[in-house]
Each structure stands twice: as structure tokens, then as C-alpha cells.
Subunit: 448 residues, 2 copies
């Protein structure tokens, strides 16, 4: 029988460093606790310390850990059904697809995979197969695979045939004017603290005018920008949407929803994946959909999120730290004058028992109570005051320049037509014009 | 509460076709049952019919469905621990990494992701980051993402900078001689029915001689080519190995093991992934490692697999169908004169209650009993006799030409130096020589 030997947080992290942890992703960008269990919004580390999770586990949780209905569904799935069969179709998969298609206007069909990175990759492979076109225009973070990596940088990558328009409408319009007939899809991750519904409506209309597929990457927003995402709650038309986080309440599942005549290119796009049929997260997702059906879960989350957001804004104002605190209640952004300052505040708040997302996007779960919000705000205030006491901070409003700098660093947002941005758009057009449309694969079959 | 309405198999497939199923992947390449539960090796379809799974759910299962130790571990994980936390390091992740590194010689460090497609992608992104080199030389199936797709075809894809050497040693040696200094890694999926340990030893030595990282894609073989895969049981040295199938007994998890000084480029390779920390499949994997620790599970699987393999060979001989039946007992291959003939036999066997893998690779689980083997062989014999009675089959041995044709179709195997293969090697060398090493991304940061 497996026995997990644990030591202090520090010893455990050292043990992880030797055998599995990445220096930055797993250690440098996290605070000093290793957790062994969590109930609701509270995590317990290997030293027995309880810490409130204000990240919703990077957005993966909607109902919090150990939610009874999800636990019951998962237990029932492994005890009564099993995990995977020789066939890929199951009643649960059908039910889940039907219910997601009812929930989101974009959904005529839905297919499943394991991660947001996979779902957005399926979207662009299907778009290319369906249109016979090659170019992809993108903005925002879509995952960690090669085509997704230059998300912070406007420009064109001839290898992946992906042009990043950096949320800049001039760039998108220009690229569509020049190369629209070769564009398989436009894919964008909504950044609701920066770009509103009307912005995305304009993008959807621009794509429709050019006859280009419009894909909204709702991996985070589908259950957090209102209960039905930008596509449903925001009413922005899309040909496909992706979703993943919160869907299985932590159990890994991602979905790609869209037009049936587009998703029917699944085979032509070469998509497969043994675990895409895995039942456990589908049972979890069905339980989540049951729980959120009457809207009360989202109402509660919105209320808790709003209280937290308003409270954090107020703390920063009182302490005298310029800040930009805005966005949907269930995924709002907190921007301060520098990443280092934010890190210092959150690191100090962690010492007082609350784990905030250091990159700034805070997310509650349905497990949050008013007393959790109060605890988070108390820890945040103590952290902010401690940092303010030892740091030289220019008071006043957060400058527009800092606000834009944050957007650029965080997700490549370059919305304004400054001279360097306009120059980059022209460079990109030139580079795209010089692309070799015949530079396809030589890897055709050997016969004989 | 979710209620899953089901109809007949046919009705359920029609319902799936409307909302989620892909015509080929989900319907055309599967037989006519939709399953609702499975225990051990037996699945029960929505009409209540019990069918034996001879595919191990595409290899995902090692112990069979509803194995008590795995069920208990999963239930414990969701009831006592939760699913995901704000941190990515957990005692379970550390324990799993340590035990995998003890199990496989290649493992100094281990990192986790969700699918085989993701694990092999992590391997090549890390290899590129670690070496500063760009070319990848590959053979075999590694998944469904773009760089993995031309796996059946020898040649060079300038977009993904991947050259497929088609298991051809002349090609690999030639490419390494010409371009070795620019090669980040060689990655190969073992096809043990076609290429033995000595073959892979030669490849490993060739890579070592050229100072090129050698990666074995053991997504299927790690727990099926002997208990410790080609790397452990076969003794073939590798710089990295991937593994996934069977590890979580159906729960989705994949691992990348390798040299610490290479895996330390995880951050530089830009790898992330919210669900990579998911606890449920880690608990399942630890339970699997407990179960297989004393070797008896693999001994039993080997015995059942061998009985099935020998029995299927004998059936085909008796019925008079030329065939090639060989490979490791836990993942052996059955080749007949044509894919259509194989499909017809397996489709007929399905009518008699056994679901074989139509592509030919049959896999048992530890849940198989001698009576399951007998049932599978009886169904297979009935299927083979029914097809032989209505099909014109040339008796005798399976020709070497057919054998090679199968390898080419199934995984791009072009091992012999025929004139077309040699010509393709030269074409590929020319194409690789003409590649533009500066054709990188223009997607650099916009400043100002």
C-alpha cells in the first residue's frame, strides 16, 4: 500500500525540486505551501496550516473541492460504470454534449478532449480542415503548445501560420482585408477586464463580413463571464467556442462546441485521443450542470466575487496603492503599478492565510461564504499595509500607460494604434504577403 | 438530477451522430454497441448485452474496469483530498515521480500531463529548448497534433521541422550524418512486432554517437512491452521516455521521464497546463503501481496474452487464412491479407460477444481469465470461419510484401532500402538542406 511520507513544506518542496518540480512554474511563481487536502475553498498544507484559495485552483474549480454532488457522481461513475470502454460513445457523453449545446448558442455539436490547450488546437485543426485555408489570426492565451506560445507578441509566425493581432482592431481589419480569403479562423480569448461585449461583437461582425470562422476561446470565461460565457450571457455569436475550466469542477475535461457543418471535419482534421472518452470527468461535468441549472450558484458566486472585488479596490484605495480593479465578478483583475509590488502584497497576504493569484485574476468558487470574503480581505489588507510601509509608492491613479503595459505583458494586448504598433502591423502584413503558400509537407506516402 | 435516457444501440448512435460523434473515429471504425458499464474485461451495452473487451480500451486499462484497489484510491482521493489546489506540487505527485523514476532507467525527473499527445509534445518542446536545435527526427505514431500527423509518411515537413525516417536505419543514419548538429531529438514509438530490442539499441547508440537526444515514446509500451517497457525490461537507454496508457488504469494521465538536466528546461519550453496537477489520476496511478509491484499482475497478463496470441494464430491457420501474429504478449499484432478481411472477421466476432481491435493490436488486461481467453477465441473462430466461408482467400503464408504493406499503412514503417525508399531519402535530404534556419517567428514584443 502506498504511504505518502511528508515533511515540512520546505522539505517537501526540496524533494519535489529533485524529482518533478519546474523551478519557475511549480516553485518560483507559487507561495511556500504544499497542500495535502482541500474542502470547499480551504486548503490544508502538509504542516496542517489552513489557507483560503482565491484562485479557484487556476479557475479549475467552480463549486470548490469535495463538493458533495460532484464527489457522489465521481464515486458512482467508478463504482457502477468504470472509466473507459472499447467504444468512444457513451450515454454520458451524449447527454453532456446535448446539455452544453442547449446552454451555448454556438453549440450544434460538441466534442471533448482533456485540456484547454487541446481544445483550442482541435479548433484550429478543424477550422483548417473545414475551410482548406491555412492562416490563423489570434489574440490571447490559448495554451502551451508551439502555435500558442507567442501569445504576448504581435506578429506573424511563418512556421505555425499564426498571426497574433494583439487585440488590435486595426490589425485584425487589415489582416482580414489583405488575406481574408486565406484565413481559416480568428480565435480570441476574451479579456473581459479590458475588452467589453461590444468589442467582441465588432470582431464577430468583422469575421462574418469576411466569411471567416470566429472562435471564442472560452476555456476560462464559459462559466465565469456570466453563467453562459461571452457566447451565451454576452450574446456574441461564434462559429465555435472552447471551454474547460470549472466544467468538471477540477476533473480534467475540455469541450469544443460549434456549427455541425464545421465540427463534422473532426475526422479530416485527424483528431483522436484515447482519454477523450474518459467517463469520470463527464460524470463530474453533468453533476456541475445539475448544480448550476437553477442559476442560484452563479448568483451566489457573483455576489461573493463582487464583495471581494469591491473590497480589494477599497483596501488598495485606503492603503494608497494606485490600482485598476475591474472585470466580471467571477474573474476580476487587480492591477497595481508593478508585478513585483503585486507579488509582494500577495506573498504577505499568504502569510496571513489567503492564496491570491499573483498574476492578478482572482476567482471565487461557490464554496465562498461572506466570512471567507472577510478573511481574504483581512489577509489582503494586512499584506498591502505591510508592503506599503516598506515600499516607496507614488500615490494617485494608475496611469493608462501602466494599465496598457500590464495588458501587453499579461496577454499581448496592444489595443491602441501607437506608432510602434502601426509599424508592427505593416511589418506583419509584409511578412504574411511573402509567405510561401506551397510550403506544405513533403511527407507524402512512399509507394512501391 | 441527471437522468441519462437511453434507447437501443442504433438509436443511441443516431443520437450521438447528431450532437457529438465523428463519422469515422466514433462510428465507422467501431462496432454497433454503445456501452453503459464495464466490470473487469466485460462491457455491457445499452441493450444489456455483455461483450468482452480485447482492446483494453485502446490500451488505457491495465487492471480492467472497476478494479477494487483503483476504485478505492479514487474514492479516497475525492472524498478525503479534493481534486486540484492552488499549488501544483502535491505529496502524491512527488511520490508518483519518485516511483516512476525508480521503475525506469531513463527517469531522473518526471513531469505529468494529460495525454500521450501532450507528453510527446512536451518532450520535443523540451528537447528544442534544451539543445537550442530545431530539427526532430521521428518514426511512428505520437498523437493527433499537427507535428504528429504525417506519421505514416517518410519525408520532411518544413513547417514543423520534423523529418519522419519511417523506421528506416539508412534514413536515420543519413539524416544524422548530414544534419546531426541541428537535430534536437530523435523520437520513436516502438513497434515491437516489427522491430526488436537490438534494433532500438542500434538507434540509441547511433543517437549517442551523434550527441543527439534519444526519446522513446512508450505511451503504449511502458507497461506492456514487459513490465518496465523497452527502456526498463528491454534495457534500451534513452534520454527521455513518455508513458500514458495503463498508468492510471483508464484515468487520464501521462508522464515524461528523463534526464534531470534536460527536464530542467520545462520552463524554457513554456510548458504549463492547469489539469496537470489533477490528483484523481495520480491516486489511480499510485494504486496501479502498488498492484503491479510484485510482478504477479504482469505474469498473469503475459500468460493470458500468450494464450490468446497462440490461439488466434492457430485459429487462422486452421481456417486457412494467411496471417502474421506476433509481438509482446500484452500487445501483439494480428495481420491478415487485407484490412477489409480483418475488419470482417472482427465484425463477425463482435456478433459473438468479443470486441477486438480492428487495427490488429490486441491487448488483455489483468482481469482476463482463462475462460475469457476461451470466449475470445471461440468468438474469433466463429468470425473467421463465417468470413472464410464467403470470401475468396489465397491460402499459404502471408507474403513479406503484405507484411511490409501493413507496416507502411499502420505506422509508416519503411524499413527496407527499396529504390523508392532510397529516392525518398535523397529527396528528403535535399529538402532539409534547403530549409531556412532563420525562418523563425517575427512575433517578438512590441515596445513603446
Amino acid at each position: 500500500m502506498t504511504t505518502i511520507v511528508t515533511g515540512s513544506n520546505r522539505e517537501t518542496i526540496e524533494r519535489a525540486r529533485r524529482v518533478t518540480a519546474a523551478e519557475r512554474f511549480d516553485i518560483g511563481t507559487r507561495f511556500g505551501s504544499v497542500f495535502d487536502s482541500a474542502v470547499g475553498s480551504w486548503m490544508r498544507d502538509v504542516e496542517g496550516r489552513r489557507i483560503l484559495d482565491v484562485t479557484a485552483a487556476s479557475g479549475a474549480l467552480l463549486l470548490g473541492n469535495q463538493h458533495p454532488a460532484v464527489v457522489e457522481a465521481v464515486v458512482r461513475s467508478v463504482r457502477d460504470h468504470g472509466v473507459v470502454y472499447a467504444s468512444t460513445i457513451t450515454p454520458q457523453r451524449i447527454e453532456l454534449a446535448e446539455r452544453l449545446c442547449e446552454r451555448y448558442p454556438a453549440g450544434e455539436k460538441a466534442v471533448f478532449c482533456k485540456s484547454g490547450s487541446e481544445a483550442t488546437t482541435a479548433a484550429i485543426q478543424i477550422a483548417r480542415a473545414a475551410t482548406g485555408r491555412d492562416l490563423i489570426l489570434t489574440a490571447g492565451y490559448h495554451g502551451w503548445f508551439e502555435w500558442q506560445r507567442p501569445y504576448r507578441n504581435m506578429g506573424y509566425d511563418p512556421r505555425t501560420r499564426v498571426a497574433n493581432f494583439g487585440y488590435n482592431e486595426t490589425a485584425l481589419a487589415r489582416y482580414l482585408d489583405e488575406f481574408g480569403a486565406d484565413v481559416a479562423a480568428v480565435i480570441i480569448t476574451p479579456e473581459p477586464a479590458w475588452f467589453d461585449v461590444a468589442y467582441h461583437q465588432r470582431l464577430a461582425e468583422l469575421c462574418a463580413r469576411h466569411g471567416v470562422l470566429f472562435v471564442i476561446d472560452e476555456v476560462i470565461t464559459a462559466l465565469r463571464w456570466g453563467p453562459r460565457g461571452l457566447n451565451g450571457s454576452g450574446g456574441v455569436r461564434a462559429d465555435m467556442i472552447t471551454m474547460s475550466k470549472s466544467l468538471g469542477n477540477g476533473h480534467s475535461i475540455a469541450a469544443l462546441l460549434g456549427r455541425a457543418d464545421v465540427l463534422d471535419y473532426y475526422d479530416a482534421a485527424g483528431i483522436a485521443g484515447t482519454y477523450n472518452r474518459e467517463l469520470t470527468p463527464m460524470f463530474a461535468a453533468l453533476a456541475v450542470l445539475d448544480e448550476i441549472a437553477d442559476g442560484s450558484v452563479h448568483e451566489h458566486c457573483e455576489r461573493m466575487g463582487q464583495a471581494l472585488k469591491d473590497g480589494m479596490r477599497e483596501v488598495l484605495r485606503e492603503v494608497g496603492i494606485p490600482a485598476y480593479v475591474t472585470g466580471p465578478n467571477m474573474m476580476f483583475d487587480v492591477v497595481t503599478p508593478s508585478e513585483q509590488l503585486s507579488w509582494d502584497i500577495y506573498a504577505a497576504a499568504y502569510e496571513h492565510g489567503a492564496w491570491f493569484e499573483d498574476s492578478g485574476t482572482q476567482m471565487v468558487t461557490a464554496a465562498f461564504t461572506q466570512s471567507d470574503v472577510d478573511h481574504a480581505l483581512e489577509a489582503f489588507e494586512k499584506g498591502a499595509r505591510a508592503v506599503a510601509a516598506t515600499t516607496d509608492i507614488e500615490p494617485g491613479e494608475l496611469s493608462e500607460e501602466l494599465r496598457l503595459g500590464f495588458a501587453l505583458d499579461a496577454f499581448g494586448g496592444s489595443p491602441h494604434d501607437t506608432p510602434p504598433v502601426l509599424a508592427r502591423i505593416e511589418e506583419t502584413v509584409e511578412l504574411m504577403a511573402r509567405r510561401d503558400p506551397s510550403a506544405g509537407t513533403s511527407a507524402t506516402a512512399v509507394t512501391g
